[in-house]
Symmetry: C2
Amino acid sequence: MLEKTMRMNYLYDFYQALLTPKQRNYMTLYYLDDYSLGEIAEQYKVSRQAVYDNIRRTEAMLEQYEEKLGLLQKYERRQQLIGRLKDYVRQHYSADAELAALVNELDELD
Amino acid sequence: MLEKTMRMNYLYDFYQALLTPKQRNYMTLYYLDDYSLGEIAEQYKVSRQAVYDNIRRTEAMLEQYEEKLGLLQKYERRQQLIGRLKDYVRQHYSADAELAALVNELDELD
């Protein structure tokens, strides 16, 4: 469950701009603010089932976007490489602040 | 016009997975293979106007995706930084093949 929550948080980060405002609201409350389905249902005056269905559909949409665009996968590959580059620079050129700054800038871009 | 063609080629690269097969076919013929609207219309047995409308709508969709996800913009920023990093490594550590390989790997990831 924790792993699913983390993955949904990441996918939400990458693809939230493609969701409707309602989908964004439910996902934020459920995954980021840790509301229960019942609490969201109460707040929006809808049934718990309606909230559940909406969130499940949104999760499926996020997975479909990831299948098509692969932004999370590409991000992870880039982060892994940048990590290796950072380690290498730290080990071999720890006195070169300019090089470290360039690598950090690249890291912060993501 | 050339600038628009280049931009559409880039946007198509990033977002083609979100288009329908028909949209992909028209865009490929028009922008990559340089067919005229008339030639595409003939091949698909539709009016020239239908092809024109489909391509204009697809262009608008691609721009909307870019507004929401900004993949081209992020790519350009990353490429610019990787370019600076490559130049720096070449100027200061031209003998370090391992460092150059790491930076190249990062470049090729995009």
